[in-house]
């Protein structure tokens, strides 16, 4: 589910842009696996862990980070030649803070419940190391269009992990996905399995796992995702 969401956006960007060569495509696909901001670069863990109990807030968070990351990269890349080295940190922070304030006000106006659920974590996008890290590592040395793509790629890599973790935690912790009941004993299902004749309920024996709702579960889930990713992509294994 998370993967398709990511791929759909990917395809949309690709088809709309004729300037899209192999190198540019790598800018978007690399952060999805080989150079994932969360599982490989260890960036942006902070604001990621706390919002992943439910899928919907995580999705909003992912979109917000893609937006902030892409436009911060673009702006800083445009400014990179004209900005003095001594004040670059403050300039970068002001650009990020401006974009995050825009996101915060838009959410407050259009989706107040999600805004309340995310609370301080929207503000904390400013201190999301992905944004600052990509500005320092990429946007300061590259042209605007490439930086913009790098921002989108890293935002999606982060968002993908965020949504996968949120899906696992919501399904096993609450028996729901994006608010719709999937498994467990209660009767409000997305698909009425009883009248369809598939038996009483889908995994009706399943009792919600309270551990998954705790913030600590996000760490276990990401730890296990790293384990899976590295046993399959062995060049990422930490030798030291």
């Amino acid at each position: 589910m998370a993967d398709t969401a990511v791929q759909e956006k990917d395809v949309a960007v690709k088809s709309s842009e004729p300037l899209f060569g192999k190198k540019e495509r790598a800018l978007i696909t690399d952060p999805l696996n080989d150079n994932n901001p969360v599982t490989v670069q260890v960036l942006g863990i902070c604001s990621a862990l706390a919002v992943t109990t439910l899928v919907v807030p995580s999705f909003v968070m992912a979109i917000a980070v893609v937006f902030v990351c892409a436009f911060a990269n673009l702006t800083v890349s445009l400014l990179r030649t004209s900005m003095p080295k001594q004040v670059r940190m403050i300039v970068q922070l002001v650009v990020i803070a401006f974009l995050v304030t825009v996101v915060e006000l838009v959410l407050k106006a259009f989706s107040f419940t999600v805004y309340k659920q995310l609370s301080v974590f929207i503000g904390l996008i400013i201190t999301n190391c992905i944004v600052m890290g990509r500005l320092e590592a990429f946007a300061m040395a590259n042209k605007p269009w490439r930086s913009f793509l790098d921002g989108i790629g890293n935002g999606l890599g982060y968002g993908g992990i965020l949504i996968i973790v949120a899906a696992i935690r919501e399904i096993f912790g609450k028996g729901t996905f994006a608010g719709y009941k999937l498994i467990g004993p209660t009767p409000e299902y997305l698909i009425d399995t009883v009248s369809a004749g598939w038996g009483s309920t889908l995994f009706g024996w399943y009792a919600n796992n309270g551990l998954m709702v705790l913030p600590a579960a996000a760490l276990f889930v990401i730890g296990i995702l790293i384990w899976i990713q590295r046993s399959w992509n062995t060049k990422l294994v930490d030798i030291s």
Binding site: E104, L124, R230
Partner: protein, 210 residues
């Protein structure tokens, strides 16, 4: 007594790292040896203890609608709270710059071992998070100082603890794909669960001897 409560609550019960999972990036990246962890922890305590009261003053006198100076001059209430992110982060960036200069002058060895993670304290979520929590919990000035020192101490405790565990782990047979980052994540989760057992504790009731 109230201030001691806030300190204990911030350091243990509502630990920034292990209960809210803020400041994770530097927590996971700098926790390979105890020595650098102590240095970073001390720097974070300092930055939190300084920025929290400064941000309290900025928030109360420049931003909060009912108390800010501009409202006093204009006569009607001016809501400037939307500027808080930009002002808070500017204060934090300035303080981190100060800490960097102090460490460079008095302990060049620590300065080189912390490397890039010293400027990255600026984007340590625990610090901005602390200021935002202070606003949303409506702390008074003294309380904000206690909260700043307490949450800094909590970060220090957490990062030193995981660094010590990771030093020992070097001699254990961890599956290759899980080595390093993966096991650090799982360990942090386990520590978080351990810290959760403190959650039901009410320091005020403890001190009253109940």
């Amino acid at each position: 007594m109230e201030l001691v409560n806030i300190f204990i609550k911030a350091a243990f019960i509502e630990n920034m790292v292990l209960a809210y999972f803020l400041g994770m990036c530097s927590y996971l990246a700098v926790s390979k040896t105890v020595k650098t962890a102590v240095g970073l922890g001390a720097a974070v305590i300092f930055v939190l203890a300084i920025t929290m009261p400064i941000n309290w003053v900025i928030y109360t006198f420049l931003l909060e609608p009912s108390t800010n100076v501009l409202s006093g001059i204009v006569g009607t209430e001016m809501d400037l709270t939307f500027l808080r992110l930009i002002l808070f982060i500017a204060v934090i960036a300035a303080m981190v710059q100060l800490v960097e200069m102090i460490i460079e002058k008095f302990s060049p060895a620590l300065y080189t071992s912390l490397g890039i993670f010293l400027p990255l304290i600026t984007v340590n979520c625990a610090i901005l998070g602390g200021s935002l929590f202070m606003v949303s919990r409506e702390y008074a000035f003294g309380e904000s100082v206690a909260f700043g020192i307490g949450s800094g101490f909590g970060f220090f405790l957490a990062i030193v603890a995981i660094a010590a565990i990771r030093e020992k782990l070097r001699y254990s047979a961890v599956p290759p794909a899980l080595r390093g980052l993966g096991i650090a994540f799982i360990l942090t989760g386990l520590m978080g669960i351990a810290f959760m057992s403190l959650m039901g504790i009410d320091p005020a009731a403890l001190m009253a001897g109940k």
